[in-house]
């Protein structure tokens, strides 16, 4: 099987851009990625485009050039970008195409995501009575996790402080003002035990990735980044998942994160001990803590010590969310995962500037999780 490698990455800043459309941001990100790869749009043979707010994100072809290629819209909630990248890689691995793109773009209104429960196949009463709110789930999952594994509120604050500190080193991040742990712990509780400054917010932005066949990469770059695995898994019966009016007693299954992670390590022939830098879905600071264990990077409960020791800092032995994560960048749903990939590619190339992790990182790990219980894991290596 042919291997797919990343030869170009492009990122439109994340934040709020009044008067600028998601399509404009996506176009800019794509042009940046093409320039980074040294590829022109007519050389691109296929692509996958993800967005929540834009109904036909494939219409971006009208901005990039009407070349007639198959440009497919994809969507998997917060895991959308994982699907876009996996499919763009798969199109090369199968031998169908030589050069492909993955693009993500979104522009969300302010405030918590509001939707009708019918989008998740749930009856109306669930929304009418104030249960259809994803942030509840994150509060409830970390509350239970803290009870079971001895994670403290101080650690929730440490994670958020780290991600805002990392974002302050990233000129494309949204929340670039560092916040102290005290400031974070002084912000209002939104969903016990999670406070305002422990949550990411929906925002705007775009990202794009250009891939090609490994055997042609030398034409474009001296530092191709290999796509070693791209896996998507949905929830199994018995998993404790977002937007669940109930779950069965006596049927226990791990989060789809665990399933996706195990399958990705196996496909890549890489283990968690090999990961040099990780991007984990930090919808809130509790999620980052739980996801460290669900992705095999530590055991349940070890996070308390690891985070206290600074292991997940840029200078630590397991840097997590070096670009500020979702907390620092916000979440344009369609683009969020490609933002993770953009950062990992720069880390593995050694071009992450002030955010560059120590040594010579060889393996990068990206993880997404979202409604309705879906997770994507991508493993990259030099």
């Amino acid at each position: 099987m042919m291997e797919a490698v990343i030869i170009g990455v492009g990122l439109h800043p994340f934040g709020r851009f009044p008067g600028k459309s998601a399509m404009d941001m996506g176009t800019e990100a794509t042009r940046l990625a093409l320039a980074d790869a040294g590829v022109t749009w007519p050389q691109v043979q296929a692509g996958y485009v993800g967005s929540l707010e834009v109904a036909n994100p494939d219409a971006i072809i009208g901005r990039l050039g009407l070349t007639g290629i198959p440009l497919r819209g994809v969507f998997n909630g917060c895991a959308t970008s994982g699907t876009a990248l996996s499919m763009a890689a798969r199109a090369i691995e199968t031998g169908e195409h030589d050069i492909t793109v993955a693009i993500g773009l979104d522009k969300h209104p302010r405030g918590a995501f509001a939707a009708d429960p019918s989008v998740a196949g749930i009856p109306n009463w669930y929304g009418q009575t104030g249960l259809f709110i994803t942030t509840h789930f994150f509060g409830m999952k970390i509350n239970r996790y803290m009870h079971d594994h001895g994670i403290t509120e101080a650690t929730l604050a440490k994670v958020a402080a780290k991600n805002f500190r990392n974002a302050s080193l990233n000129d494309k991040a949204w929340r670039r003002t560092p916040l102290s742990e005290q400031e974070i712990l002084a912000s209002p509780v939104l969903n016990h035990p999670l406070r305002q400054f422990m949550y990411c917010g929906p925002d705007e932005g775009a990202a794009a990735i250009v891939l090609c066949r490994a055997d042609q990469a030398h034409k474009y770059t001296s530092t191709p980044i290999r796509v070693r695995a791209g896996v998507l898994r949905s929830r199994r019966l018995g998993a404790f998942e977002v937007q669940s009016p109930a779950f069965p007693v006596g049927e226990h299954a791990p989060s789809p994160t665990v399933d996706a992670s195990r399958a990705a390590y196996e496909a890549a022939g890489i283990g968690p001990e090999d990961v040099d830098v990780a991007q984990l879905q930090d919808t809130d600071s509790g999620s980052e803590i739980i996801h460290m264990a669900e992705n095999g990077l530590c055991k349940d409960g070890e996070q308390e010590r690891l985070i206290a020791e600074g292991a997940t800092e840029i200078g630590g032995r397991l840097p997590v969310n070096t670009d500020g994560g979702l907390l620092g960048n916000g979440e344009p749903i369609g683009a969020s995962g490609l933002r993770q990939i953009h950062e990992l590619v720069h880390q593995l190339r050694g071009s992450a500037g002030a955010r560059q992790v120590a040594g010579t990182p060889r393996v990068g790990y990206a993880h997404l999780y979202g409604a309705p219980g879906v997770s994507a894991v991508t493993i990259l290596s030099t």
Partner: protein, 147 residues
């Protein structure tokens, strides 16, 4: 003003002195589901019978809702009078772990493992004074006092 009305049919027994949630049990593999459904997510069967769920369980986890949820879909008339509430998952032994609003808004008064009892309570009042009812769980001691 009319009599209080449940937020949905086929959700809990009402009117009732001891209201119960209406779940379903798969005729093929016995999986219990809530809300009631004819379709089984375990075996794929499409034959199920209605089954009333236990009105007592233990608190599996909980959180608070500190800000008014976006409307729609939230349809309470408390635009100017929103009061924070709690939600949790209650383990109904041998049946299902169900998500519900909790009657106790203070997280300091809630604890994982605490015994809970189901109640029916108004979550909103229309302009004409008509209450809309939903199910909620109360700490067992509070529920006993109310009874």
């Amino acid at each position: 003003m009319t009599a209080p009305k449940p937020v949905a049919e086929d959700l809990f027994t009402w009117p009732s002195d001891e209201p119960r949630l209406i779940g379903s049990e798969c005729a093929d593999c016995s999986l219990i589901s809530f809300p009631a459904t004819d379709h089984c997510v375990r075996c794929g069967g499409s034959d199920a019978r209605r089954r009333l769920l236990s009105n007592r369980g233990t608190l599996w986890t909980f959180t608070t809702q500190g800000f008014r949820p976006p409307s729609p879909p939230y349809d309470a008339t408390d635009l100017d009078s929103f009061e924070p509430y709690s939600v949790g998952y209650i383990d109904l032994p041998g049946e299902v772990v169900v998500e519900a609003r909790l009657t106790e808004p203070d997280p300091a008064k809630l604890a994982i493992g605490r015994p809970m009892r189901m109640v029916v309570t108004p979550y909103t009042v229309a302009e004409d004074g008509t209450e809309t009812l939903t199910f909620a769980f109360a700490p067992e001691d509070d529920a006993a006092e109310e009874a």
